[in-house]
Every structure is written in structure tokens, then in C-alpha cells.
């Protein structure tokens, strides 16, 4: 591309503080972006993607500092200008779209008030003009009711819509550059496509340059002209999108491409009494039914994947099985016998048999307890282990999840990485020696490479102990990797269920088809083709 250079970063170094020590987390990155160009920045978490993206705005998060190199935006060196001058650029000429729009919109103000803020503060336009402009951009971003959606509060709007509203907001001053920081990561596959398409179109319409940060290659391939791969603060390689996808040079990049190679061996059809049987369950929050007549079985040693968008009732089903939400009608059988509907009426033994692992290991582990206490507690409570036996058991469990007891047993969750925390979640569930473990989106918050490690671990434990898993996920790649049977849910109903082979082979229910076709593929033209196909249909 021989267009004018918009952003030139040379030898960028950023340090992060841990305690009193400063350690380098970005180690000399060069980056060149031309006007109207989209650069994909990919890597695992901890690679420094977001840090680099924010540095392109001259911004470092609290506890980080830019320690070296130059950041020149349109001839202005962001490292030498004053805070005031930087504020004049931010929002006006360089805008930011955050990963979680739900958290990044201020809950106290209406969307349109937040939209108008930057144009008014930066004197780009007056309030009334900005409001008209907001409605126009909401329409371009294909938000429903563009005239009125801006007058709602963030909590009244869905996640996918918020993400589009945030992209519209970033466009409000017609910036030259937008930093997209994992804008679709938190969304369902079906919503992800819509947001991705809307982002791609609006960036092209206004000829805005963009840095698109993600850990999902297939996603970035749809939007980026060039891709740069980062690993632990260093650049691995950079190339045009097609070239990068067709012929990655570095081993690390190849490993990213090949990450989804793990797949569980085919299992023979399950027989005998299921461990857990959900029978015609209808459940409600208040008067609104959120589950309608849901039935499926989970057999010993098998994994049942429950898939669907958010709001489809996946987690609610888990709540019914665990007894947190007594159903309105229907029942849950455990090895053929009905479980009491309500949690407090179940015996300790019944509780022990069903354990949960949660999506956010961060919030599911008590930050004040050491791993010894976290893992030891269920073993103590359900199995009555004490003293040396308990200690040995905790060590054994740590070994099972591949963490060295000598190093880790007295650590706090805060001292672990995301993947390690999730392993602790697994060990805690295992400590009760249950027959069924419910995994609620346990890999969604993790990078692909870490995800794969967790999936392999779960699979190994299943083979070793004959565990049954109910695996709640919206990620079909995960389903492909670990499921034996699949239950597809939509709006509280089971729309299709069967073995993995059946589910991934046509013919599909329309909704299953929609889910399957929405999984991004490693092909830069995939989104375009998909949209054309859907437009034609």
C-alpha cells in the first residue's frame, strides 16, 4: 500500500509494575499504519496487544508506563506532547472501541448522551447536530429503532447492540484511526458476525484506519488488510492477510493456526441408566418461562455439550440440575431416582455428586483463600478428610491438574494466570469426587492455546475417572473438540439433539444451521460470501 503513513511506531517499549519492580511487557515493537488501512494485531493474552493499541493513543493504563521508542501520529509525536494535547487527539482523531461495551458504557447515562459527549467537548459539532448524527450512524450500524435506541440506558440494550453503539460512538468525531480492542470476543457467534460486518462496512465507508486487536485469527482475517502477530511483547511476524493465512513463516504463527487440532475420540453409543436425566423441565424466573419442556440424558463417561446463544437457557438448565432453581414442572433424575427440586432439600451426598466449574475463575474462587483451602474444603466437607490425609489429597489433586504442589499449594488465586485459575476450579470440583461436572463456559474467557490445555485436561480426567460432563458453551469449535452428544437450545427450548456426528452433518435444523455457519473460518472472503449467501436466501 502506498498511501500516506498515518501512524508510525518505532521501538516501542512499555513497562508494567508488579510491586516495586518494573518489568518490560512490550519489548521494542515497530508498527506502521497507512491512512484507511486496517491492521490486525493478534496474539494470546499477555502478548501486549491491548497495551500496544492503547499506546497508539499515547495512553498507558495505571501501573504501566511507556519507557522507550516513538509514537508518531500524523506528524505529531505522542510521547512529547502535553496531556492536554493528547486529550485533544483522543476521541477526536483517535478513538477506541473496548472489548466489553456493557462495561465500557457508563450505566448512568443514555447512549446518545455518551455519543454526543466527544463531538461537543472537542467542538466538532453542537449537541443537536451530534444527536442527528448519532441517529444517522445508529442507522448505518443497523441498530434497530435508530431514532429511539439512543435514548435508552446501556442496561436496556443487548450486548451486540451495545457493541455497535460503541462503534458508532467511536465514529462520532470521524476519527482518522480507531483502535478496536477485541470488539466481538464477548459476543455469541451469530451476533459476532453482525457486529463484525457492521464494523467492516463503517470503517470502509469513512475510510478510517483501524487497529483490530483480537486473539481470534478467523475473525481478524475478515477485517484486516495486514496482520501482525505478537508474542510476549515481541513481534513474531507481519504480512498481508492472505499471505499470512496461506503461508505463515514462523512456527509460533503456525501453532496458532493449528490450535484446534484436538478432538476427543469417538465413543460408542451410551447405554444403561443415565447419571442425570432431565425430564420435561419447565422453569421460570418470576412469571416468565425461561425453559420449556427441556429433556436430555447425560451418561457416565460421556460429555453432553449444550449450545446456544446467550439467553437460550443453557445456564438456567444447569441451575435446575444443581437445584439452585426449582423447576415449575418436570424433574431431574440422578441414576434413575428423582432429586428433590430445591437445593436445601437435597442431602449432602446428593449435592456431592454434581459439581460445577464456572466461566469466570476470577470471581468463582475466593481471593482470600490459598489453594490448599480452596481445594481442601470440598474434600473435608463431603468426604470428611482431615489432617495428613487431606493434605495428601490436595497434593494429589494439584498433580492431577498439572500444577506442582510444592510451588503452588500455599498460593492465592491472585498469583495465578487465567488458565491456572481455571485448573483450580477443576480441582475443586474433582475434590468432591462427583459423578457429574457441569462446565459453564469454562474456556470462553481463555486464549485458544490455554483453552486447548484445559480441554485436554478435562478429557484426560474423564477417561481416568469415568466422569460425566455437561458442557455449556456457545463455541462450536469447543463442541467439536470434546462433545459426545450435543443439545442445541434456543429461547429455552431444545431445538435439536443427537450425537456429535449427527449434529455436524447435514441436514440441520435452521437454527443449528445458523449457528454452524456463523463460526468464522480462516478465509478472508468467508464473511463476504456468507453475507451474500444469507442476503440471497
Amino acid at each position: 500500500m502506498d498511501r500516506e503513513v498515518l501512524l508510525e511506531i518505532r521501538g516501542l517499549r512499555i513497562e508494567g509494575r508488579s510491586g516495586e519492580e518494573w518489568t518490560e511487557i512490550v519489548k521494542g515493537i515497530d508498527l506502521t499504519l497507512h491512512k484507511g488501512e486496517v491492521l490486525g494485531l493478534i496474539g494470546e493474552s499477555g502478548a501486549g496487544k491491548s497495551t500496544v493499541g492503547l499506546a497508539a493513543m499515547g495512553f498507558a493504563r495505571d501501573g504501566c508506563r511507556i519507557s522507550g521508542g516513538s509514537i508518531v501520529f500524523d506528524g505529531i509525536d505522542l510521547r512529547t506532547i502535553s496531556e492536554k494535547q493528547k486529550r485533544d487527539l483522543r476521541g477526536a482523531r483517535i478513538a477506541y472501541v473496548a472489548q466489553s461495551a456493557a462495561a465500557s458504557f457508563n450505566p448512568a447515562h443514555k447512549l446518545i448522551d455518551q455519543y454526543c459527549e466527544a463531538p461537543v467537548v472537542h467542538h466538532v459539532m453542537g449537541r443537536e447536530e451530534a444527536e442527528r448524527d448519532a441517529i444517522d450512524l445508529y442507522r448505518r450500524m443497523q441498530l434497530p429503532d435508530p431514532e429511539s435506541i439512543g435514548f435508552r440506558y446501556p442496561h436496556q440494550v443487548s450486548g451486540g447492540q451495545l457493541q455497535r453503539a460503541m462503534t458508532a460512538m467511536a465514529m462520532s468525531c470521524r476519527p482518522d484511526l480507531i483502535i478496536f480492542d477485541e470488539p466481538t470476543t464477548a459476543l455469541d457467534v451469530t451476533t459476532q458476525i453482525e457486529v463484525l460486518a457492521a464494523i467492516r462496512d463503517i470503517v470502509r465507508q469513512f475510510d478510517t484506519a483501524a487497529i483490530y486487536i483480537t486473539h481470534d485469527l478467523a475473525v481478524v482475517a475478515q477485517a484486516a488488510d495486514r496482520i501482525k502477530v505478537l508474542l510476549r511483547g515481541d513481534e513474531v511476524e507481519e504480512a498481508e492477510t492472505r499471505q499470512m493465512l496461506d503461508a505463515p513463516r514462523e512456527d509460533y504463527t503456525k501453532s496458532l493456526w493449528a490450535v484446534r487440532t484436538f478432538a476427543r475420540a469417538e465413543q460408542p453409543p451410551a447405554s444403561g441408566t443415565p447419571i442425570v436425566s432431565v425430564r420435561n423441565v419447565t422453569a421460570a424466573y418470576g412469571t416468565v418461562n425461561v425453559l420449556e419442556d427441556v429433556s436430555f440424558d447425560i451418561h457416565a463417561g460421556r460429555t453432553v455439550a449444550v449450545v446456544g446463544e446467550s439467553g437460550s437457557g443453557k445456564s438456567t438448565t444447569a441451575r435446575v440440575i444443581t437445584g439452585l432453581l426449582p423447576p415449575k414442572s418436570g424433574e431431574v433424575l440422578f441414576e434413575g431416582n428423582a432429586l428433590p427440586a430445591a437445593l436445601r432439600r437435597r442431602t449432602r451426598e446428593q449435592l456431592r455428586q454434581v459439581q460445577m466449574i464456572y466461566q469466570m475463575a476470577d470471581t468463582a474462587l475466593n481471593p482470600k483463600l490459598t489453594l490448599r483451602e480452596l481445594i481442601g474444603r470440598p474434600a473435608q466437607m463431603y468426604l470428611g478428610l482431615k489432617g495428613r490425609v487431606l493434605e495428601e489429597r490436595v497434593k494429589e489433586l494439584l498433580n492431577l491438574i498439572e500444577l506442582d504442589p510444592a510451588t503452588y499449594i500455599d498460593r492465592l488465586p491472585g498469583e495465578l494466570s487465567g488458565g491456572q485459575k481455571q485448573r483450580i476450579g477443576i480441582a475443586r470440583a474433582l475434590a468432591a469426587e462427583p459423578k457429574l461436572i457441569i462446565c459453564d463456559e469454562v474456556t470462553s474467557a481463555l486464549d485458544q492455546i490455554v483453552q486447548e490445555g484445559i480441554l485436554k485436561l478435562l478429557n484426560r480426567l474423564q477417561e481416568e475417572f469415568g466422569l460425566a460432563y455437561m458442557f455449556i458453551t456457545h463455541d462450536l469449535a469447543t463442541v467439536r473438540a470434546i462433545a459426545d452428544e450435543v443439545v442445541v437450545m434456543q429461547q429455552g427450548r431444545v431445538v435439536e439433539q443427537g450425537t456429535k456426528a449427527e449434529m455436524f452433518a447435514p441436514p440441520h435444523e435452521p437454527y443449528t444451521e445458523l449457528l454452524l455457519s456463523s463460526v468464522p473460518e480462516m478465509d478472508p472472503d468467508w464473511l463476504t460470501r456468507l453475507l451474500e449467501r444469507r442476503g440471497a436466501a
Binding site: A118, Y153, H155
Partner: protein, 311 residues
Amino acid sequence: MIALRVALGIGLLFIVSLIIFGATELLPGDLAQQLLGQGATPETLAALREQLGLNDPAPVRYWNWLSGALTGDFGVSLSNGRPISELIGARLGNTVFLALYAASLAVPISLVLGILAALWRNSIFDRAANAGALTAISFPEFFVAYILVLWLAQTGIFPSMVRINPTTTFGDRIYMTFLPALTLTLVVTAHMMRMTRAAIINLMASPYIEMARLKGLSPLRIVLRHAVPNALAPIINVIALNLAYLITGVVVVEVVFVYPGLGQLMVDAVSNRDIAVVQAVALIFAAAYIALNLLADVLSTITNPRLMHRR
């Protein structure tokens, strides 16, 4: 939802009235004996008991008391025979006046100091404001009061005693009650200021604050427009708690400045064993507490869009 809160508040007040009545029932001693002294004959004692209704069963007396209180009739003082509502009336006005006066100084001061301390976190200003507020709250009220008297009254700038009568003009009242109001301000500012600061700082790490910074907004605008609206609930609650304190907890300050408020009345009534007055004042204090906290709940609800605008 708000109607439910109000109903709960009324229910709570009812329970408190039961407790107040029950507690005074438990007090030892015979009122009639107390009033007439050791020399009273059994006949006069009996007659007085009859006259005061002390021979009625407790539920009847409770009902008489409560139904009277609801219509503003708290009965007569046992020590001087005057209607309690008359005793309380003027003093309640004085107490509320002082509380509002102190609040009108303390609330703006603590909000501004709290917001600035959050804005310039860890700066000299922040440390000075914190240290100052903590120092003020660490001294006992009477000590602060006497220090102020020493500095501001001994030098003749402000009066150290408050003499108010119905003809006192508003301006004079403001002038004469300045020292008690200032004392109370110094006592309550620390809570409100530190809560404001903490509530705002707590939010400064949230993603929407980072978003605001990345929109190029000035630090002051970020704090005022993006942090404060989300920090209102804890701030409102601590303000309500302190306002309630200003009405119910000012006994010491009233005594120091000889201020004719409810606190003094309560102290006098307790020392005279004037149970009827104690009951009435306690009920008013409870009502003030409940009403202010109710108001705080309602305001917190109104200022939270997630509660006001359902999906």
C-alpha cells in the same frame, strides 16, 4: 417499590414505638412516688396513680399513648404538668434549624473536598484534606466546641451561648448559632468526605472511566460526569446517616452552648425521671432516623437508572 419502602418505614416506626414503651415499662420505681416524694400518704399516691392512668393494663396505656402521639398529643409532662407537645414544639424547631444549618455547611464542604481529593488522589491536597478531616473527627465534640469557644468566642467574634427567643431575627439566629453549627460541621464532615472520595476512587478503575479518558475528556469532567453519578448511592446514604446524627446526636453540643434543643430537653427529662417526655423525644428521634434513611433509599433508587428504567 417506593410505596413499599414507605410502608416498611411506618411498620418499623411502629415496632420502635413498642420498644420505647416497653423499655420505659421496665424502668424501676414508682412514678407517683417519685412525683410526690417520700412524705406522700397512701391515699394521695393511689389518687395520683388513678389520675395518671398508671393502674391501667400496659396495652391500654400503650394504645392511649400511641393514639395520642399520632395526633401530636404526647400527654403532659410529669414534672411540670405542661403539655409535652408544647415543650417539644419550639425545641424541635431549634434542633431542626441547627441540623439544617450544620448540614448546609457540612454537605457542600465534604462533597467538594471529597471530589477534589479523589481528583487529586495522593496529592498534598488529598493528604491534607484527609488528615484535617480525621483530626476533626478524632477529637470529642465538646473538646472541639471548647476550642472554638476559646478561639472565636473569647475573642468576641461569636457568642459562646445561644439565647434565642421568638423575636430573634433570622440573621441573628444564623450569627448566634454559628459556633454550634461549626462544631457539628467539623464532626460530621470527615465521614461524608471520605465516603465521597472512596466511592469515586472505587469507580476510577472501571472500564467506563477508561473509556471516558480515551474520549479525551478532562479529569474534572470524568469525575463529575462519569464517576459521581455512579457513586451517589453510598454518598446519599452516608449523608442521611449524618443528618440523622445531627438531629439526634447533638446533646453534648447543645449542652456546651446552652442551646435550647431537643437534646437538652431529653437530658433534663432523664434526670427528672420525666418518662413521658423521654418517650416522646425518643419517638421523634426514631422517626427522624427512619424518615432520613427512607429518604436516602428513595433517592438512591431514583438516581439509579437500572432501577428506574427497567429493560
